[in-house]
Amino acid sequence: MAIVVLLAQRVLLLIGVVFGVITIMFVLSRVLPASPAELMLGGRPSFEMIAKAEAELGLDRPLAVQYLNFIGSAIRGELGDSLLTKRPVLLEVRERFGATFELTTLAMVLVLLIGVPIGVLSAVRQNSMLDNVVRTISVAGVAIPSFILAMSLQLLFYGALGWLPLQGRVDTSILLRNPIKPITGLFLIDAPLTGNWEGFTSALAHIALPLLTLTILLLATVTRITRNMMIEVLKEEYIRTAFAYGLPKSAIYYQYALKATLIPILTVIGLTYGNLLGGAVVVESVFDWPGLGSFVVSSIAQNDYPASLGATLFLAGTYLLINLIVDLLYPVVDPRLRTA
């Protein structure tokens, strides 16, 4: 019952926040001095042509009417057409979301599989050689700018070794001869589902460098958090008691200690994952990864307001949804929260 109440509270909060984001984005798009109508027309339109185009876009109506129209359309799932591509914003977003989701989800999975055990080991062997190495790499991972890391990996794996492709999501030959048919939008799933093994190999090779970049960057945070939390937990009396009872070390570390650190780790992962789904903008740009981040940036840079509004709304919703899921996982991890 408590979970149902929590869920209801969170969903209401989510709706409120999405509504707030829509309002802020709408106001921002209207207070910018630039004219979307001018962008739509291109070239060097006269003021009369701009005024006519503004009327077509409804930009000449009172702000409140524009706002209500926008809210109404958003509720109906109509985000309008991009001023530049003339394609529905929802279609543009959907096409790019798969690329971002695939990259960031894989990165998060890798980070969890590698970062948490390393953090635990580092805490258990505090001040050992392993711990020192992990701490050094973690600090470097947090400190290094993402574009430097991305370009260094490109230079090494493409430039010097020639092992991995430099950019894009699949080879050009795949795009032209044997494109991966979209089912889920995730190439690493769609390619095997459709028997396109050539596409699968290419997608795997292409995701390697951006994935490695993101993983290294995120690994640092997750490893540090896990290590620090574990060190604190290992000082707790119930852990010392467990040792005194002679319980196996692995059980103490992974069943008792690690469990107690999961709440902060989950929080960090939820926030980081939500942020990444908004587009790992720098990494996407360096690797020409056709994800949402680069789309949002180019829409904002070109003042394509339906595209930037629609994409931001989508991103805000996704971010909140991820964090809702994280909130719902808390009681699963910590039973005390089920009755709180």
């Binding site: 910018l32 001095p33 630039a34 004219s35 001018e38 962008l39 739509m40 027309l41 291109g42 070239g43 060097r44 339109p45 006269s46 003021f47 042509m49 991009s82 530049l84 591509t85 003339k86 394609r87 370009m151 490109q154 230079l155 493409y158 430039g159 070794l161 020639g162 092992w163 991995l164 492709p165 430099l166 950019q167 894009g168 080879d171 050009t172 030959s173 795009l175 032209l176 001869r177 290419s202 090779a205 740009s285 360096v286 690797f287 020409d288 056709p290 680069s294 789309f295 180019s298 904002i300 840079a301 070109q302 003042n303």
Partner: protein
């Protein structure tokens, strides 16, 4: 079957070695595959969005110029026939009779005729977007026979120049016009050019295929297929050029020397009609003072900017109009001279406390470096320059147009839509009640009269028009309305086994003519 840890490790190492052996080069692989061998891989630095030649006014023109053609072509200072064979102007320059080639087919196999030309130009005019302003005076097009088109305009017009322009002048097949704006915008095309647009994946790549039935024929060594993927990151484009994965790419000027030193890559610097300038605001204090503006022109270190910011890929302008365009005069533009600048500032009568200006500029790295150098030089003689950068061009424009937020110096890069000085002289400096591009806020009745006279004469007497334009430019120089600081070249890195880069470049057009390249 069970899989143990050792087997997993073995297969992981095996996969790594397999990748290592591959030596990744996905583009060269596709270039050598398929039915056609001579494929050009050419990297795009822009994500193309609007592929409609009737409305496009942006970077897509790089591709569209290889797919569509114009009635006339401007080259080496003259108008030449292209899809037209000859043309005749009525005395009033309001009516133009154009004879068409009889051997031209569109990519869908239909014949180019006067009805197609009529439909195409009226389509551009009626859509009213992009460069349609050039055709706003088009009343109608008569088609007395299949290969004669008679254009009627409300006012005198230099139609041969306008229709030799790079925007809005392409002839589009009737079948494509019937499909409409949206169909064309989304990457479909039917033109008469040497290449057909066969594949367009928005934000990813496009493919051009040789049009076998091209009226000008084909020769050995020309490219049969062009793969044009979008690679946004300049550093990535440079790496792909270095590795041989790409044949042509626009590269940052800072890479010119290092790429040119490679044996497999050459760098072509080809002239353009682009001019980079800083408007000097003639209405805003203290640049509303002529001597103050003249002082600013002497603070600009032209040579250092050209050498260190542009790495030799730009020329010092000789006039407000690009030196390769008709109607310019070679002026002795001011020299970098801080002492002279200081003297002029003192003579201006502006109190020393007010020696403060704002410079508004964009996101291009060269703009940033150049204006920062200006700021440093200005500070040595006591002039304070506040730098105000606007990353988004449309926001920059709105800010620069607003008298409350505009700068004393406002940045611009300009190139004409068609081969005429009037495009720059009118757009940039003619009096406007509400400025669109006159960001000097320059009001000069005599200047306006001269450029208007130039436009009228352009259609009938080009030499007299040039004189009027030069007289107008004299006034711009006398009144110190802008710092014209660079005529940048186009910087293309290309594989050294490709020839014809010079023939493929024409300053009148932004695009590279792939048809003129050979391997």
């Amino acid at each position: 079957m069970t899989v143990n840890r050792r087997e997993i490790l073995k297969s992981a190492v095996g996969s790594s070695l397999a990748f290592a052996g591959m030596g990744w080069s996905s583009l060269s692989a596709v270039a050598q595959s398929g039915p056609t061998k001579n494929t050009l891989t050419w990297l795009a630095d822009n994500s193309y969005r609007n592929m409609n030649p009737a409305t496009n006014y942006e970077a897509e023109i790089f591709v569209l110029g290889n797919v569509y053609e114009t009635l006339f072509e401007y080259k080496d200072g003259k108008v030449h026939p292209k899809l037209a064979t000859s043309w005749d102007r009525a005395n009033d320059a309001k009516t133009w009779t154009v004879k068409l080639r009889r051997d031209v087919n569109f990519h869908n196999g239909t014949r180019l005729d006067s009805a197609a030309v009529k439909k195409s130009f009226e389509f551009v005019r009626d859509l009213g977007k992009g460069a349609a302003f050039l055709y706003s005076g088009l009343e109608n097009v008569e088609t007395p026979d299949p290969f004669t088109a008679v254009f009627h305009f409300k006012n005198p017009i230099a139609f041969d120049l306008v229709a030799a322009g790079q925007y809005g002048a392409f002839v589009i097949a009737p079948a494509a016009v019937d499909k409409g704006d949206e169909w064309l915008t989304q990457g479909h095309a039917i033109g008469t050019g040497p290449y057909q647009l066969t594949e367009f994946q928005q934000g990813k790549l496009l493919v051009l295929q040789k049009f076998d039935d091209y009226w000008n024929g084909w020769h050995n060594g020309q490219f049969e297929r062009v793969i044009h993927p979008f690679v946004s990151e300049p550093a990535t484009r440079v790496q792909m050029m270095r590795s041989g994965e790409s044949d042509i790419a626009l590269v940052p000027v800072s890479q010119i020397e290092s790429l040119d030193a490679l044996t497999n890559v050459a760098v072509a610097l080809t002239p353009s009609w682009r001019t980079q300038l800083y408007y000097l605001n003639t209405q805003k204090y203290p640049t509303n003072n002529l001597k103050f503006r003249q002082a600013l022109m002497h603070i600009w270190d032209y040579d250092s900017v050209l050498k260190d910011v542009f790495h030799g890929s730009a020329k010092k302008p000789v006039a407000p109009i690009a030196s390769t365009l008709w109607g310019h005069r070679t002026y002795d533009l001011p020299m970098f001279d801080l002492q002279k600048a200081l003297t002029l500032l003192e003579e201006s009568g502006v109190p020393k406390n007010d020696w403060k200006i704002k410079a508004l500029y964009g996101a291009n790295s060269q703009d940033i470096d150049a204006i920062q150098l200006f700021q440093a030089n200005a500070s040595t003689i006591g002039l304070e320059v506040e730098l105000d950068q606007e990353q988004i061009f449309s926001t920059y424009l709105s800010k620069a147009r607003n008298p409350e937020t505009t700068g004393n110096m406002n940045y611009m890069t300009w190139w004409p839509a068609y081969p005429t000085p009037s495009d720059s002289l009118i757009s940039l400096f003619r009096t406007e009640k509400k400025p669109t591009f006159n960001l000097s806020f320059y009001h000069d009745a005599e200047y306006d009269r001269l450029v208007d006279q130039g436009v009228k004469l352009e259609a009938t007497d080009i030499e007299a028009a040039a004189k009027a334009y030069i007289a107008a430019q004299d006034r711009l120089m006398q009144n110190a309305v802008a710092i014209f600081y660079a005529e940048p070249d186009r910087v293309n890195a290309y594989s050294s086994n490709i020839t014809g880069m010079e023939e493929a470049s024409n300053p009148a057009y932004e695009w590279l003519s792939i048809y003129d390249l050979r391997r």
